[in-house]
């Protein structure tokens, strides 16, 4: 049965990160009907997991607050979380989309009062903090989660813990009997804003992410720096909880590498430059950052930021792709081995902590997409053959937030053009 929440005048936006929210809102504020589906329990995507943006060092949650306010106030956008697209049929202007809605086990009654979370003792890895901490199995994903509604993790459904959550709820919001649902909808155009995931650092064997405690990824480092993160914003290293003051940033961890990701992920240089300033923020002149790079890709006006960091005496640059990382077992320090290629200098340098600037891999890598979708050799979405589906943001190309928003705004208009054509055909 086709659900009546959408018609061929509706734009479906897949993914509720910054690109998806933007694509949805920009179309909605042009007066179009939009259905925004997100596979996790909250909007915001990976952007919500960043501490600061380059180059302004402002906070992503600031823009997210505005976007959430726009969504709350705009009846043209309908948001479905925990929802995935499983199939797309039909064609440009008239797609039949099958959606799968996973159970949240919490209904609209929820007021986020926290009673269920207090009642439950079971814990699960904290996805918001990339698993660096734990949360209760009845949880609000983060302080700005939207919808502001708790989630009961499936692992405690059918257990006494689940019952505890249900019993604690004063407003009958916990519904342990919720089932997965499948929904058929009709839409006119589809914007794929499915975003990216950090490249799996375990695959980069010589860097020992899987073996050396003090080798972490750039996305994890964001969580360490964030006051809402697992360490309350302190740069504490995993092995012993000590403050990491001498930090190495390794560029192209996965990117520009035909063994892993053949593309350049664009954002990592700027992200590492930004993160050197977290070290400065934490320790002033007492911190030390070293950036190991092949080419510093601080494109266009970002060059200013690079120039600023370049002049920072606490930051040094080594033109080298690090060959391997060993561990000094006495103190847990990672030891970087490689060659500075500017003049050929061999090094074996010890740091307190190593941050791998992991590349961006399309979230849809390994996912079966509709046949009509055109992807490039790295699985970024270029569009669809019939011209009714569009890639937006990091699903389309490795982009920073600013560029992702630009891309999403453009995709939004392309989707509107499809809807417009539908409308004018019907009117004729």
């Amino acid at each position: 049965m086709t659900a009546s929440i959408a018609t061929n005048q509706t734009i479906l936006v897949v993914g509720g990160g910054i690109a998806g929210m933007t694509a949805a809102l920009e179309a909605a504020e042009c007066g179009k009907q939009v259905l925004l589906v997100e596979k996790t329990p909250t909007l915001g995507g990976r952007t919500a997991q960043l501490y600061r943006y380059f180059p302004k060092m402002c906070h992503p949650t600031c823009g997210m607050e505005i976007n959430l306010k726009r969504i709350k106030g705009n009846p043209n956008v309908r948001v479905m979380t925990m929802t995935q697209v499983v199939a797309v049929g039909g064609g440009r202007g008239d797609y039949n989309v099958t959606l799968k809605v996973s159970p949240r086990y919490v209904n609209e009654n929820c007021t986020a009062c926290r009673k269920c979370g207090e009642a439950v003792s079971a814990e699960i890895p904290d996805a918001y903090n990339y698993g660096l901490g734990k949360v209760k199995a009845a949880y609000l994903p983060h302080a700005m989660a939207y919808p502001q509604r708790y989630v009961i993790d499936a692992s405690i459904v059918g257990t006494p813990e689940g019952e505890k959550a249900k019993a604690a709820c004063p407003v009958n919001a916990v519904d342990l009997g919720m089932q997965e649902e499948t929904l058929e909808i009709n839409v006119g155009a589809v914007v794929w804003a499915t975003g990216w995931r950090p490249f799996d650092a375990n695959k980069i064997q010589p860097y020992g992410y899987d073996r050396i405690a003090n080798v972490i990824t750039s996305v994890e480092f964001e969580r360490l720096a964030d006051p809402h993160g697992p360490t309350g914003g302190k740069l504490l290293r995993p092995s012993d909880g000590k403050e990491a003051k001498n930090i190495a940033f390794i560029q192209c961890a996965g990117s520009r590498d035909e063994n892993y990701l053949r593309h350049c992920s664009r954002i990592c240089c700027m992200a590492s430059l930004k993160q050197t300033q977290y070290v400065r923020e934490a320790y002033g002149d007492a911190g030390k950052s070293t950036v190991y790079y092949i080419d510093i890709r601080a494109i266009d006006r970002f060059e200013d930021f690079y120039a600023m960091v370049w002049k920072d005496p606490t930051v040094s640059f080594v033109k080298s792709k690090v060959a391997r990382i060993a561990e000094n077992e006495a103190n847990g320090n990672p030891v970087l081995h490689g060659v500075d290629t500017e003049g050929y200098h061999r090094y074996a340098t010890e740091h307190d902590l190593v941050v791998l600037a992991v590349g961006m891999e399309p979230e849809v890598s390994g996912v079966k997409l509709p046949d009509d979708i055109i992807i490039d050799s790295s699985n970024f979405i270029e569009g669809s053959k019939d011209g009714g589906m569009f890639g937006a943001g990091a699903a389309a190309s490795p982009l920073d937030v600013n560029r992702a928003v630009q891309s999403a705004t453009a995709a939004s208009l392309k989707a509107i053009q499809v809807i417009h054509k539908n409308a004018s055909t019907e009117a004729a």
Binding site: I18, L25, E29, C30, Y51, M57, C58, H59, T61, C62, G63, M64, E65, I66, K69, K72, N109, T111, A112, A143, M144, P170, V171, D226, P227, H228, R262, C264, S265, R266, D295, I296, R297, A298, I299, D300, R301, E303, D304, Y306, A307, K311, K319, E342, G343, D376, S377, E382, S397, P398, V401, R403, V405, Q406, S407, A410, S412, L413, I416, Q417
Partner: protein, 751 residues
């Protein structure tokens, strides 16, 4: 107009009823708040609770009401009553979740909650429901200025979405810079070969589009009005002037290349040293054959010098040329090197770079050129000498040695210089001088008008404000299109250095924003960031002293002046931040649901204990987008802070009128905390200058404090970011401790 009936609805759910005396709160709402209807409900946001309110609206004639429950940021959809004036008293995140637990705090907690009820009731009494001013007859046409790739893309994008477009191009033909290109870099997989530019096809498409009206050889002599009713005077080269009414504008005025003559050390101006544009011309002339120099000889060896006159501010130069990187030049040089290789693989092509910048799939293009035998050398080029045999002196950074090579041709990858019109700072200075009679300034003013792109007849100047390096960029990351001129959107290299792919994407996005702008006007609603807001500023001009502060301080140039120097509000340009309201010394500017009174009455409604009770009162004026959510999140995280504070969210700290401060101090408040966003060059205020203005105004309030014999510390401004929930809680506690140390305000009891 229907009768006004006030009500208050108090939620006792989420533990509010367990911890607070809801009966007492109801009494406050009835007796002090003078609400005609006061009801409490154990689960107000439920369907049943909302129905209770809806029922009162329908059957009891309730029009204005206060919802005392959770933060205004929570349950916004449930508590949406578009036809009513609604205030929210934040009992949950603002009281229950932030005041320390336990009976020891019962009294202060209850007092805090009661004050929020008083404030909510006081606020709603001064509110009216914004009526909006929809204008279905407003113009929905989009004007695109600039007929290059960006402009043509924007025009087509808007036209294909059903909007009429007026396209203005100053030269005799469409196509812009792309007309000079032999080929472009690839946009799609496999990202291996240079591609035809497609400019001719696009020009044909634009020229033949029924919805696009083209003005060639034309510039803008004047742009008057506001979104939905811009009147553009389009001057042709011949002198003829046509008038077009348009709703929104996309500025796609492109760039010029950095002047080669400024780079003599790199051979600029010398024989056989060209820039990338020069090489395109040679490639076009060769038409796929061997590329020849100006003297007609085929090029056998070519050196590309990257970052020529660019990236000057870091360790890379002396800052005498362009500081920024133009982004596209690495890929462009790669493309141009393949021009040579494709025609003749034996041509020696060397690209000298410091950081090769080909992000994304550009890496594939790089590989493809390497495969063709293009040699890439990480090098710092020190000197280029042109001539029959050019010489390039450089340091090979990998081999760590100085070297020099000879080549038939040297290509300098110079940067993009935006075409963005008049610098408004220069404009303001010039106009001020001209108005005081300076003849040279008058002359300069007319020269500036000549280089202006838009010639807006705005009080604040003829073009969009520029950012660093003259780009008409927006300063935001999340909202790259938000310029400071509502309804005018920059696209392409006028906004930021960029390649053709990005420019086309950018132009498509800008077209959407222009469409949105005209739709907003039709609905009478605000544009970003208060999207959909139907309120707009109203001024009681009879009280106005023509001080011009509102016209000068408006971050969006929304307010002009009439002949008598009274402000003229252009609602369609207004973003509803209230900076004008904060600026007005005589308080004649207000919004229907946000005014000096809606806030002032809240301040006055608070019950200020006398000096013997040792309960200081602290007023917090918090930016609704950052500081207020930070306070909310402190609650969500169950952090505690002093129960002595009373928080009022403001649209922007820039909307805070100093009368609120003096009112609070007169009332006997012990301190005022003003929480806004980061100010300065790297400001984070979404209304650009709001927090800056607030800080400036507060720096002037010291004298007032002295007159009242109050310590300066009693009014403090803070920069609070949205992530600062823990910091802000501590900030409040520290300030409360400081005030207790300082002793009660001497103003208590006089208010």
């Amino acid at each position: 107009m229907a009768d006004i009936k006030y009500a208050a609805y108090i939620c006792s759910g989420c533990g509010i009823g367990d911890t607070l005396n809801v009966g007492a709160l109801e009494k406050v709402a009835t007796k002090e708040g003078k609400m005609a209807v006061v009801k409490s409900h154990p689960f107000l946001c439920s369907t049943e609770g909302v129905d209770l309110i809806k029922n009162d609206i329908a059957n009891e004639g309730v029009t204005h009401f206060c919802i005392a429950a959770c933060s205004r940021r929570a349950k916004a959809e449930a508590f949406a009553f578009p036809g009513n004036a609604v205030s929210r008293a934040n009992l949950r995140e603002g009281v229950l979740w932030v005041v320390a637990e336990g009976p020891a705090h019962d009294e202060v907690r209850q007092e805090m909650a009661e004050d929020y009820i008083r404030m909510g009731c006081a606020e709603v009494k001064k509110m009216t429901c914004p009526a909006g001013s929809a204008n279905a007859a407003s113009s929905r046409r989009i004007m695109v200025v600039g007929g290059g790739m960006s402009g043509m893309t924007a025009a087509l994008a808007a036209a294909d979405a059903g909007y009429e477009v007026v396209l203005i191009e100053k030269t005799a033909q469409l196509g812009g810079f792309a007309n000079n290109l032999w080929k472009r870099v690839p946009f799609n997989a496999p990202h291996a070969e240079a591609q035809p530019t497609g400019v001719a096809e696009m020009t044909a498409k634009v020229s033949g589009h029924a919805k696009i009206k083209i003005h060639l050889n034309s510039t803008l002599a004047e742009t008057a009005g506001a979104p939905g009713r811009f009147i553009a005077k389009i001057a042709q080269e011949s002198g003829a002037v046509t008038e077009e009414t348009v709703g929104a504008i996309v500025q796609a005025t492109g760039f010029t290349t950095y002047d080669l003559a400024k780079l003599p050390e790199l051979g600029g101006g010398q024989a056989n040293v060209v820039d990338q544009a020069g090489l395109e011309a040679l490639a076009k002339a060769a038409d796929g054959g061997a590329i020849k120099r100006a003297d007609g000889s085929a090029v056998k060896s070519v050196v590309f010098v990257q970052c020529a006159g660019q990236r000057g501010s870091g360790g890379n130069g002396d800052g005498s040329h362009l500081d920024y990187c133009s982004g596209h030049c690495c890929a462009t040089s790669i493309k141009q090197a393949t021009y040579f290789k494709d025609a003749n693989p034996d041509v020696d092509t060397v690209v000298m770079y410091q950081d090769l910048r080909v992000p994304g799939m550009g890496e594939d293009f790089y590989r493809s050129a390497q495969k063709k035998g293009v040699i890439f050398t990480k090098a710092k080029v020190n000197k280029v000498a042109g001539g029959n045999s050019c010489r390039v002196d450089f340091k090979d950074l990998i081999l760590d040695e100085d070297a020099s090579i000879d080549a038939d041709l040297v290509v300098l990858a110079t940067g993009q210089v935006p075409t963005s019109g008049v610098n408004l700072d220069e404009w303001t200075t010039t106009v001020t001088a001209a108005e005081s009679g300076d003849e040279a300034a008058k002359q300069k003013k007319s020269e500036l008008q000549k280089i202006s792109v838009l010639n807006l007849n705005y009080r604040q100047g003829p073009d969009m404000p520029q950012f660093k390096y003259g780009f008409a960029d927006s300063h935001f990351i999340c909202f790259p299109y938000e310029t400071r001129r509502t309804g005018v959107y920059a696209a392409g290299p006028t906004r930021r250095p960029m390649d053709m792919f990005q420019a086309q994407e950018d132009a498509t996005g800008a077209a959407l924003k222009a469409i949105q702008a005209v739709e907003n006007v039709a609905r009478g609603a605000a544009a970003h960031p208060r999207a959909g807001d139907l309120s707009f500023p109203k001024a009681r001009l009879e009280g106005c002293t023509q001080c011009k502060r509102c016209t000068v301080e408006c971050p969006f140039g929304a307010i002009d002046e009439d002949e008598k120097r009274f402000p003229v509000f252009n609602q369609e340009r207004c973003r509803r931040c209230g900076t004008c309201m904060g600026a007005c010394p005589v308080r004649v500017i207000s919004f229907e649901n946000y005014s000096c009174d809606t806030v002032g009455m809240q301040i006055k409604a608070v019950n200020v204990p006398d000096e013997f009770e040792e309960k200081p009162r602290i007023l917090i004026l918090a930016c609704e987008n950052d500081a207020y959510p930070a306070l909310d999140m402190a609650g969500i995280q169950r952090l505690t802070y002093s129960a002595f504070v009373r928080t009022i969210p403001v649209r922007c700290l820039g909307s805070a009128n100093t009368i609120w401060i003096t009112d609070a101090l007169n009332q006997g408040y012990d301190g005022v905390m003003m929480m806004g966003c980061k100010r300065g060059d790297d400001y984070q205020c979404h209304f650009v200058k709001g927090s800056e203005m607030a800080y400036y105004r507060m720096s002037k309030i010291d004298d007032t404090l002295k007159q009242l014999s109050l310590e300066g510390e009693r009014v403090q401004t803070y920069e609070v970011a949205i992530t600062d929930s823990a910091r802000v809680a501590k900030m409040i506690d520290d300030y409360a401790a400081q005030l207790i140390e300082m002793g009660p305000s001497p103003m208590k009891g006089f208010g």
